[in-house]
C-alpha cells in the first residue's frame, strides 16, 4: 500500500487579513470516514472548497493518491475520482432525476456500456429509483439531498466530499442518509464529511478533525475528541460552567 488517499499539508487560505484557514494538515486513508467539524466560522467550508478545487489555497498542498492536486479545477478532480455534493443542493432542475444521474455517469468521460442502466443502479443504491422519471425540481428536500449523493456516486469516486448533506432534515430523514452513507463506505469509498448534525457525525466517523478560528485544534477518535478540553472550549467558551 502507498500512503494515505488524501493528504492535506499546511493548507492556508487568507482573505485579505483574515486567515480563514491557517496551516491545516490531516490525512485520510482509503475506506475511511473522516468528519470535519467546528463552530460556525471555523473555516470548514473554506477548507472543503480548497480541497474540492473551487478555492485556491494561499499556501500548502493537497495530494490525492500520491499526486499533487493543489489548485486543480473541479472537473479534473472529478475525473481523478473525487466526487462532491453541495450544501445548497444544485440539481439540474428541469430534467428528470434519471437524466441528472446519467450526466454524472457520463461526466468524467470514461468508458461505459450502458449509462442508463448504470444510473438506474445508482438510484437504487440511494433509494430514489421510484422517482427516476420525475423532474428534479419536483423532489422533496431529502430526496434532492439523495439525488445530490447519487449524482456524485455516478462519477465512480474513490473519495466523496459531503458538505452538510443532513442540514435541514428531520431525524428520520437523517437516519435514512446515514444508512446510505454506511452502504457507500462498505463499497470502499472514502468519505470526508462536513456536518453540524453531531449525532450523525459522531456515530459515522472513524476520525474527527476539529477546526476553530481557521486552525485545526484536535484530531482523533470521536470519543477522544469529544472529551478534549480545547474542543469543549471552542464550542462552549472558556468558563462553560458559568455561561448562561
Amino acid at each position: 500500500m502507498s500512503g494515505p488517499l488524501l493528504q492535506v499539508r499546511g493548507v492556508s487560505r487568507w482573505f485579505g487579513g483574515l486567515r480563514a484557514v491557517d496551516e491545516v494538515s490531516f490525512d485520510l486513508e482509503s475506506h475511511e470516514i473522516v468528519g470535519l467539524i467546528g463552530p460556525n466560522g471555523a473555516g470548514k467550508t473554506t477548507l472543503f472548497e480548497t480541497i474540492s478545487g473551487v478555492i485556491h489555497p494561499t499556501k500548502g498542498a493537497v495530494t490525492f493518491d500520491g499526486s499533487d492536486i493543489t489548485g486543480h479545477p473541479p472537473h479534473r478532480l472529478a475525473r481523478l475520482g473525487i466526487g462532491r455534493t453541495f450544501q445548497i443542493v444544485q440539481p439540474f432542475r428541469d430534467v428528470s432525476v434519471l437524466e441528472n444521474v446519467i450526466a454524472g455517469v457520463l461526466g468524467p468521460n470514461r468508458e461505459t456500456s450502458d449509462p442508463r442502466a448504470e444510473a438506474m443502479a445508482v438510484l437504487t443504491r440511494v433509494r430514489l429509483d421510484h422517482r427516476a422519471g420525475l423532474l428534479a425540481r419536483n423532489l422533496s428536500l431529502p430526496e434532492k439531498k439523495r439525488l445530490e449523493i447519487a449524482r456524485a456516486l455516478a462519477t465512480r469516486p474513490r473519495l466523496l466530499l459531503l458538505d452538510e448533506v443532513m442540514a435541514g432534515l428531520t431525524p428520520a430523514e437523517i437516519d435514512e442518509i446515514m444508512v446510505i452513507l454506511a452502504d457507500i463506505r462498505r463499497e470502499g469509498i472514502a468519505l470526508l464529511i462536513v456536518e453540524h448534525v453531531m449525532r450523525a457525525i459522531m456515530s459515522l466517523s472513524d476520525r474527527l478533525v476539529v477546526m476553530a478560528n481557521g486552525r485545526k485544534i484536535a484530531e482523533g477518535l470521536p470519543a477522544t475528541v469529544a472529551a478534549d478540553p480545547a474542543v469543549i472550549e471552542a464550542y462552549l467558551g472558556r468558563r462553560h460552567h458559568g455561561a448562561a
Binding site: 479545477p73 472537473h75 453541495f86 440539481p91 439540474f92 446519467i102 450526466a103 457520463l106 461526466g107 468521460n109
Partner: protein
C-alpha cells in the same frame, strides 16, 4: 434508433411533397428550410447549452461571403465553398466561444459580444471593395449542379432540405451521446457540471463551434438561391433576431421546437405581408408582433411545449 427513423420519414415526406407545390409554395419551402436550419443551429448553443447568441448572422454571412467570393474571384466550386464555409463557421464559433467563455463571461455579456462581433463584421465587409462593399456581390446565373445553381426552385428545395437534414442529424447525434449531457449539465447548473467532471469552458466552445459551422452552411445555399448577397441581408441583426425568435416561439432547448417555430412563423410573415402590406404600411409587422406576444404569453415553453403537453394530456 427511433428519432432517426422518424426524421427520415419526415424528410422523405417533405421531399415527396415539394414537386407538387406552386412556385410560391416552393419559395416558402426554401425559406422555411433555410431559416429552420439556422434556428436549429442557434438552438444547439442557445437552447441545448444555454448560451444565448445575438449574432448568429455572423456565421451565415461569413459562410455566404466566403463561398461567393471564392467562386467569383477564384472560380472555386460552391461545393468546396460549402465545406470551407462550415470550417470557417466552426472556427469563428470556437474562437468567439474561447475568448468569451474562458473569461467566465456568460449570459447577457456573451449575448452582447456576439451582437457586437456580428455588427462589426457587417461594417467591415461594407467597406471592403473586394467584397462589393455595401453594394454586395451579385452571382451570375449559370445553372448547373457543379455551380450549386438550379434551373427550377425545386432544386433549391432539395438543397435547403439537405442542409436542414444535416442540422437535424447533428442534433440527434449530440442528444444521444455524452455531448448532449455535457450541454444539458452546462445549461442547467455550471457548478454541478464541473463537479461531475465536465469541462464547462470546453463544452461551451464545442457548442459554439458546432452551432457556428451549421449556421455557416446555410450561407452558400442562400447566396446561390437569391444570386445576390449584401452585408445587411446576411450579416444583419434581423437574421440574428429571427434565429432567436423562432427558437423561443418554437420552444427553447427542445430538440426540434425551433423548427416548429420556423414552420409557423415564416409562412405567417409571408401571409401577413401578402394580406395586409398593401393596405397600411407596416401593419403586417404590428400584427406579427402582437401574435408573438400572445404566443409567449400563452405558451411560455413554446409551441413545442404546448404540443407535448397536449399529447401528454391525451395519453393520461
Amino acid at each position: 434508433m427511433k428519432p432517426m427513423l422518424l426524421l427520415g420519414a419526415v424528410i422523405a415526406l417533405l421531399a415527396a411533397l415539394a414537386p407538387f407545390l406552386s412556385i410560391y409554395g416552393q419559395h416558402i419551402f426554401v425559406l422555411v428550410a433555410l431559416y429552420g436550419a439556422v434556428a436549429l443551429a442557434w438552438n444547439i448553443l442557445g437552447g441545448m447549452a444555454g448560451q444565448m447568441s445575438l449574432g448568429h448572422a455572423l456565421f451565415v454571412g461569413a459562410g455566404a461571403y466566403l463561398s461567393t467570393a471564392l467562386y467569383l474571384k477564384l472560380g472555386v466550386s460552391p461545393w468546396i465553398g460549402l465545406v470551407l464555409a462550415a470550417c470557417l463557421g466552426g472556427a469563428l464559433g470556437a474562437l468567439m466561444g474561447y475568448t468569451v467563455f474562458r473569461r467566465k463571461l456568460s449570459g447577457v455579456y456573451f449575448a452582447l459580444v456576439t451582437l457586437a462581433l456580428a455588427e462589426m463584421t457587417l461594417h467591415i465587409v461594407s467597406n471592403v471593395s473586394a467584397l462589393g462593399a455595401a453594394n454586395g456581390l451579385a452571382i451570375p446565373a449559370r445553372p448547373s449542379l457543379a455551380n450549386l445553381q438550379f434551373t427550377s426552385k425545386l432544386g433549391y428545395c432539395y438543397a435547403a432540405l439537405a442542409v436542414l437534414t444535416v442540422a437535424a442529424i447533428v442534433i440527434i447525434v449530440i442528444h444521444r451521446t455524452r455531448l448532449g449531457y455535457v450541454f444539458l449539465a452546462i445549461r442547467e447548473n455550471e457548478r454541478s457540471a464541473a463537479a461531475l467532471g465536465i469541462d464547462v469552458v470546453q463544452g461551451k466552445v464545442i457548442a459554439a463551434a458546432i452551432s457556428g459551422a451549421l449556421a455557416a452552411l446555410v450561407g452558400p445555399i442562400y447566396a446561390n438561391y437569391v444570386l445576390f448577397i449584401d452585408p445587411e441581408s446576411v450579416f444583419g441583426i434581423t437574421l440574428s433576431i429571427d434565429a432567436l425568435l423562432f427558437s423561443f416561439v418554437g420552444g427553447l432547448g427542445s430538440l426540434f421546437g425551433p423548427l416548429l417555430g420556423t414552420v409557423v412563423l415564416v409562412p405567417l410573415t409571408e401571409l401577413l405581408r401578402g394580406m395586409l402590406a398593401g393596405r397600411l404600411a407596416g401593419i403586417h409587422l404590428i400584427v406579427y408582433g402582437v401574435i408573438l406576444v400572445l404566443v409567449m404569453r400563452l405558451a411560455p415553453r413554446g409551441l413545442w411545449g404546448l404540443l407535448s403537453d397536449a399529447i401528454a394530456r391525451r395519453r393520461a
